[in-house]
Amino acid sequence: MQLELSPTDAEFRDRMREFFTTKVPQQIRDTVLEGRHLTKDQIIEAQRTLNAEGLAVPHWPTEWGGQDWTDLQRHLWHEEMQRAGVPIPLAFNASMIGPVIAHFGTQEQKERFLPATANLDIWWSQGFSEPDAGSDLASLRTAAVRDGDDWVVNGQKTWTTLGQHGDWIFTLVRTDPEVKKQAGISMLLIDMTSPGVEVRPIELIDGGHEVNEVWFSDVRVPGDLLVGELNGGWTIAKFLLGNERVGVAPVGATKRALSALKANAGDLLDDPLVRARIAELENDLLALELTALRVVAHSSDGAPHPASSVLKLRGTELQQAVSELALDLAGPASLAARADDDSPQAGWARRAAPTYLNLRKASIYGGSNEIQRQIISRTILGL
């Protein structure tokens, strides 16, 4: 048992901190630090800056731009990025489809997609959920039918985050309706400019346009865009959704949000109830951060540490709790959510209600918190 980082890891962390705070454009970092929305171009610029330095996809295989880091180093990389207000590389590219193609893809697919994916030359969307397939993802119905060498896709995906920016979408489609539901699913990569693909916006409760419906009508997809085995999509989906040990909980970003809240609180910090809520949240975040460290510092054989589900569950709860406190501190000023920029109310207070509302999503997507409890009770407790 030892608390200190090794000299190598401490030096590594300093190097990350130095890069993130000096090389990523200040105006992008300020946007993140102040909780404002990034533009598509800002997200792309940030990822390219990281990628030029080999810092966008460190967890990929080294031949495709990965770094041979330990889990702890990846954790430090991830934390320092959040602390500095550097946008995390687009998850659909860096954490989802990239590792999938690197693991399951053909050599041709790797060459065609991986460099462009790392550099965000291609913006990927995730086409998994459907109106009737949420937590029970395997009940999805979007169908792909063989036609010569091609697939013809019909159906609807939904909740597609930032699909309005998407160049390509990785989808789970039903390729065999006759077998057990998990056994008839495949993964197809679809060019979103193909005829028959239509993206329709969904407005969320914060007023933002973050998610979309994606409709497929007789969309023709060349056969070489199937990833992995035919009807092997469920294995890929499990790999994609379950292989993460690092960055499961947004610890750094939540700590940053809490510290910003303290800075914004002003006289409200004199209120003992406010102080107690802050102190409790700081403590809870410390426990979460320590648990994240325990998870990454343990084995590195790739198997998810059982406490990963704890991180997702608790991480989202705390992220939400900080946004609740921010909204309570904003008080009446929060009504000015959609007021013009010349509003006399502070920016953070005007953003408090939309942020609070938006973050309700955190316990729904990526395996809802109920699904995390299910995983804990079944796989950890054996119930």
Binding site: M1, Q2, L3, E4, L5, S6, D9, R13, L72, K255, R256, L258, S259, K262, A263, L269, P272, R275, A276, I278, A279, E280, E282, N283, D284, L285, L286, A287, L288, E289, L290, T291, L293, R294, A297, H298, A307, V310, L313, R314, E370, Q372, R373, Q374, I376, S377, R378, I380, L381, G382, L383
Partner: protein, 379 residues
């Protein structure tokens, strides 16, 4: 950075677990032990001494083993697992810790050597009736005439105080500050009683009682006293962690075996989800306990005080959560004295109200929220 126990620490855990199992193989054995005074098993205490466990915190010069906080934490966790009523926290960690922190070399060699060998049992008297954690020692006052010191006042609760051969008493000094004194157990008027978890505490009345100052007479020892309280708080959290580990295990086992409506209880998601939440609390508590324990090794009293408040807050909340749910998910049997789960909940409360509860630690942390920008696990 490393959150794993090394081979020697694992071996220590196995050895302590094995030894405790010889006495507390089941909860019935604990019930028998706590039914009679002194409320713990003197023979087991002797075997813990033989194994070197009682001397773990003390230097070899003082007759101890010179182990670190992680080892002491391992012992406390194991004691907690079986709800062992032995006064390890009170006698070794707290009272022994005070002697080690403030005693002269001669005092340390004498007292700690005999404590480590099991020859004497100590208890710390640092709380007066109605007082709360670290609120001062107004209940007991020290007087000096020539170089003869006497103490007056009442200390209560004194955990393990009825059985102790010597009491380590904190008292207000005539010229201000707080001193630490050694008093022979037989020289005081003491009334033992049974706490909610069936462990023992006592009311200790001092009335012109002759006392030996530990360390330099008349010197204010408040900072050392506070640090030992913090350290005891952290070790108490280790013990509570052991209790909660057992409760979570017992609860999951019970859900798998207990049948109602023709099926085992784990068929009901309303229950399995609550068990999952208990596990979440347990994991987070474990992280904090490991961290706080490692913080002691750093040797910075300010950091140890902070760690004690942080782990105290976490463990208090986890104890309420896990302790209550463990009973609820067991139904009626959780309420019975013959079943360990509910007694564990009593033990968690005794630890908490003795060493510092949620409100106490939260108030202290809340008073400090503006001296930092954010709290980092890694410095």
């Amino acid at each position: 950075m490393d959150f794993t126990y090394d081979d020697e620490q694992q071996a220590l855990r196995e050895a302590v677990r094995g030894l405790l199992a010889t006495t507390y193989a089941d909860h019935e054995a604990r019930r028998r032990t706590v039914a009679d005074d002194p409320g713990f098993d003197e023979a087991l205490w002797g075997r813990l001494a033989d194994m070197g466990v009682l001397g773990l915190p003390f230097s070899e010069d003082d007759g101890g083993v010179g182990a670190g906080p992680v080892e002491i934490g391992v012992v406390c966790q194991e004691l907690g697992r079986v709800l062992a009523p032995e006064p390890y926290l009170a006698s070794v960690v707290h009272a022994g810790g005070l002697v080690a922190a403030v005693g002269t070399p001669e005092q340390k060699a004498d007292l700690l050597g005999r404590l480590s060998s099991g020859e004497i049992v100590l208890a710390a008297a640092d709380t007066s009736p109605g007082a709360r954690w670290s609120s001062g020692t107004d209940g007991v006052r020290a007087s000096v005439s020539g170089d003869a010191w006497t103490l007056d006042g009442v200390a209560d609760p004194v955990v393990g105080g009825a059985r102790a051969d010597h009491l380590v008493v904190t008292a207000a000094l005539p010229d201000g500050g707080t001193g630490v004194f050694l008093v022979a157990g037989d020289d005081v008027d003491r009334t033992g009683y049974v706490a909610a978890d069936l462990t023992r505490a006592a009311t200790v009345r001092l009335d012109g009682t002759a006392a030996t100052p530990l360390g330099e007479p008349g010197r204010d020892l408040a900072p050392s006293i506070a640090t030992i309280s913090d350290l005891t708080r952290i070790m108490g959290a280790n013990q509570a962690l052991g209790v909660m580990q057992s409760q979570v295990r017992a609860t999951t086992d019970y859900l798998k075996s207990r049948k109602q409506f023709g099926v085992t209880l784990n068929t009901f998601q309303a229950l399995t989800f609550r068990a999952a939440d208990m596990y979440v609390s347990l994991e987070l508590a474990q992280s904090m306990v490991d961290w706080a324990t490692m913080t002691i090794a750093g040797g910075d009293p300010g950091a140890v005080a902070d760690a004690a408040d942080r782990v105290g807050l976490t463990i208090s909340r986890a104890g309420r959560h896990i302790g209550q749910e463990a009973i609820q998910l067991h139904g009626g049997i959780g309420m019975t004295a013959e079943y360990a789960v509910g007694v564990g909940t009593a033990h968690l409360e005794v630890l908490d109200q003795w060493l510092g509860n949620r409100g106490h630690h939260l108030a202290r942390l809340a008073s400090r929220v503006d001296d930092h920008d954010l709290v980092d696990a890694l410095s």
